[in-house]
């Protein structure tokens, strides 16, 4: 189990341990800790264009959360992040759970299906975004072409241009990209359940649904915890898919705007806007970061407790 721990605390030994530990820590401090602390610091300064001005305290934070210009944009985007989180929780993680259960039973061809479900996961998000953008083209994309060819003309829509379907289309593209991940994590979780437990439940005459709900779901709770936490972090850092598929503006008219796009626009500007503000961008990044850390920790703690109860 544990290594024996009575090494002589000689200088030579300490040097050896330092040799092992110091380079990775220095590396992390330099390229992760220092930039992040600096980003926090930037948020407290006024920025003239790209040049750092004077210390302004919490002004940038106030502007981001309550300012007449920024706040509506930020809250609108935040809401879309929440929608994406909820929808993906159901479609991506929930769908993954059911797929895992089907794979767990090892029906005919399950090896093939297991490989197939994970294919999109290894693709770059950029590729996935461009691919679905082409597929969703209203006049030439295969989605509408397929609907026309089976006579469902009225179902065909300008998916990414219609404010009622655009965000949904992004969410589905994301779910297509990643559903294999929760599926296979859940599958691994299910394979850890002692077969006797499931066997016993079956002998009691439990039907499939009850088995899934009362036995399997609680027993894969550790997988649920980590998958929900990862999804939470991912949903609030969402950037690549919207960037590629609808552009920096969250087109049409902000109906697909998410915080990742707002951050990028605020910090780096875009062609149609004028202002580029590192201070406000950093303030938004700081708030987003704090939000993610606090909620992800709370979520993890809450889900963990749920695990223990069973």
């Amino acid at each position: 189990m544990q290594a024996s721990r009575q090494q002589p605390r000689s200088l030579k030994h300490q040097l050896w341990v330092a040799f092992l530990v110091v380079p990775p820590i220095v590396f992390m401090s330099l390229f992760v800790v220092y930039p992040i602390l600096s980003a926090f610091a930037y948020a407290f300064y006024d920025w003239q264009g790209l040049a750092r001005g004077e210390f302004v305290g919490l002004k940038n934070f106030r502007e981001v959360l309550f300012g007449a210009t920024m706040a509506p944009v930020v809250w609108n985007a935040f809401l879309h992040n929440v929608y994406a989180l909820i929808a993906l929780m159901i479609i991506q993680n929930g769908g993954g759970f059911f797929l895992a259960w089907l794979l767990y039973k090892e029906p005919f061809g399950f090896r093939f299906h297991r490989i197939a479900v994970f294919v999109p996961v290894v693709l770059s998000t950029i590729i996935v975004g461009f691919l679905w953008k082409l597929f969703l083209n209203p006049n030439f994309g295969i989605i509408n072409q397929a609907l026309y060819s089976v006579g469902l003309d009225s179902w065909a829509k300008p998916w990414l241009g219609d404010s009622s379907t655009a965000l949904g289309a992004l969410i589905l593209a994301n779910a297509w990209h990643f559903v294999g991940f929760p599926a296979l994590v859940y599958l691994a979780g299910m394979q850890r359940i002692p077969p006797e437990i499931i066997e016993a439940a079956r002998l009691d005459g439990t039907n499939e649904w009850q088995l899934l709900k009362n036995v399997v779901w609680p027993l894969v709770a550790p997988s649920t915890t980590i998958l929900f936490t990862l999804l939470f972090i991912g949903a609030f850092n969402w950037f690549e898919i919207p960037y590629v598929m609808v552009g920096l503006d969250g087109s049409p008219f902000g109906s697909t705007d998410v915080l990742g796009l707002v951050f990028y626009r605020t910090a780096f500007g875009n062609q149609s806007a004028s202002i580029q503000n590192f201070g406000m961008g950093s303030a938004l990044a700081t708030l987003l970061f704090l939000f993610i850390v606090v909620f992800a920790s709370m979520l993890t703690l809450w889900l963990r407790r749920r695990e223990i109860q069973f």
Binding site: G49, L136, N139, G161, G247, D249, F253, S272, A273, S274
Partner: protein
């Protein structure tokens, strides 16, 4: 394992070498641009410049337009960036000029500024100190590009009035031809469409009233023009709210639509993609016969010198070269864009047409006047027109939203 290690070491060595070998006796300038499609032209120009100035070489790099601002500003903020910068105009210029990243230009260091009209220099001037920061390179116009063959085959002529335009569009649609290839899915398309189709109905007087504060964007002229736009959008590309900019270009290039409301800069691009196209241009239709027909013009950007460059002298030499009539002529005739340099002889007939139309023009309003503060007039116009054309708000609501946003900072509206 050994092999991969060797490859990796070679890679490491290679990248050190790549970043390490700078010019020795030669002065090497770097020059950044977002005009990926003009690469061949610039390479050619650089060759000409290098022949004149054998001591200087210029390294030309282009970036995707949507990322250009990011890459440039991040580099400048870090005290880096190229020696010569293709910068945009108006508000986007101010972002980098205000921060002191650009070298101020005047008749002393760039005597060729005398070759430019006032309005062109104004586009590259910082409002706070009145100094010019870039040598303007192009004037662009928003208008209507049309497919002459489709017009001729159907016995149609370019419309003068709005009613003629509507009738023409209907006639085309009746024959199963897409009147316009335009769509609205890409936000900024909406601004170009407004510029291309509504300028004559808005009029120069409207612009003057906006500037003086006599009128704002809830003005009837603006609202009714938006209503007309909503009207004509039924003749845009099929499923137009989902048609993004490349798709609408594609429709027009493939000859599947008769008209394209947008930038004069697309003419050369369309011709490149489909040399068989016979194209013409006309200004935004007027409300009633006799009104002045206008196009919306603006200056695209300019060539600037990085204030932190260590090779300012060489960079200025290059920028001065880019301000000569010789350069302007090559620019206009190769790229079919209007150089603002005075006294250039235009060869291409369509470019001549655009130049003639430009004699009657108003500003491409939001870019020229309202991209200095947030929320920018462009962002407001784009998203609210997009929303209006999707049927999610009325022209009155769109106008009110645009006005509300601009009024938060625009003094003349706050009276």
């Amino acid at each position: 394992m050994k092999l991969t290690r060797r490859i990796l070491m070679a890679a490491a060595a290679g990248s050190f070498l790549l970043s390490g070998t700078a010019a020795m006796a030669q002065t090497e300038l770097t020059f950044w641009s977002w005009r990926q499609e003009d690469k061949a032209f610039y390479q050619d120009i650089i060759k000409k410049f290098q022949a004149k100035e054998p001591g200087i070489t210029v390294k030309f790099e282009t970036y995707a337009p949507e990322n250009y601002q990011t890459i440039l500003s991040t580099a400048l903020a870090a005290g880096r960036g190229p020696d010569v910068i293709q910068a945009r105009a108006y508000g986007n210029l101010e972002t980098i000029a205000t921060s002191g990243y650009l070298l101020a230009l005047d008749q002393q260091n760039v005597p060729e500024l005398a070759n430019f009209p006032e309005a062109a220099l104004a586009a590259e001037t910082l409002r706070s100190n009145g100094k010019v920061y870039a040598v303007p390179f192009a004037m662009q116009a928003q208008l209507v590009v049309y497919n002459k063959k489709i017009f001729k085959d159907n016995g149609l002529n370019p419309p003068k009035t709005w009613d003629e335009m509507m009738a023409l569009a209907q006639a085309l649609k009746a024959k199963n031809i897409n009147p316009f290839s335009n769509g609205t899915a890409t936000a900024w398309q909406n601004e170009t469409i407004v510029g291309g189709l509504l300028s004559s109905m808005l009029g120069k007087e409207f612009e003057a009233d906006i500037v003086s504060g006599k009128a704002n964007f809830t003005d009837p002229r603006f609202v009714s023009a938006l209503a007309k736009l909503k009207d004509i959008s039924q003749y845009f590309a099929p499923n137009f709210i989902g048609v993004d900019y490349p798709s609408s270009q594609q429709l027009f290039v493939a000859g599947r639509a008769a008209m394209f409301a947008g930038g004069s800069y697309e003419v050369a691009n369309f011709k490149n993609q489909n040399p068989t196209l016979d194209l013409g241009v006309f200004p935004a239709p007027v409300l009633k016969a006799g009104d002045q027909a206008l196009i919306a013009t603006y200056y695209d950007g300019g060539y600037a010198v990085n204030a932190k460059s260590e090779k300012k002298d060489a960079a200025l030499k290059f920028v001065r070269f880019l301000a000569t009539p010789e350069y302007g002529t090559a620019f206009t005739n190769t790229l079919k864009n209007l150089s603002p340099i005075k006294g250039i002889k235009i060869e291409d007939p369509i470019t001549q047409d655009v130049a003639k139309l430009a004699e009657n023009s108003m500003s491409y309003l939001m870019l020229v006047r309202f991209r200095y503060q947030e929320p920018s007039g462009s962002v407001l116009l784009q998203s609210n027109v997009q929303k209006m054309l999707a049927g999610q708000q009325t022209p009155e609501q769109a106008a009110a939203e645009i006005n509300k946003g601009i009024a938060t900072y625009y003094k003349p509206f706050q009276k």
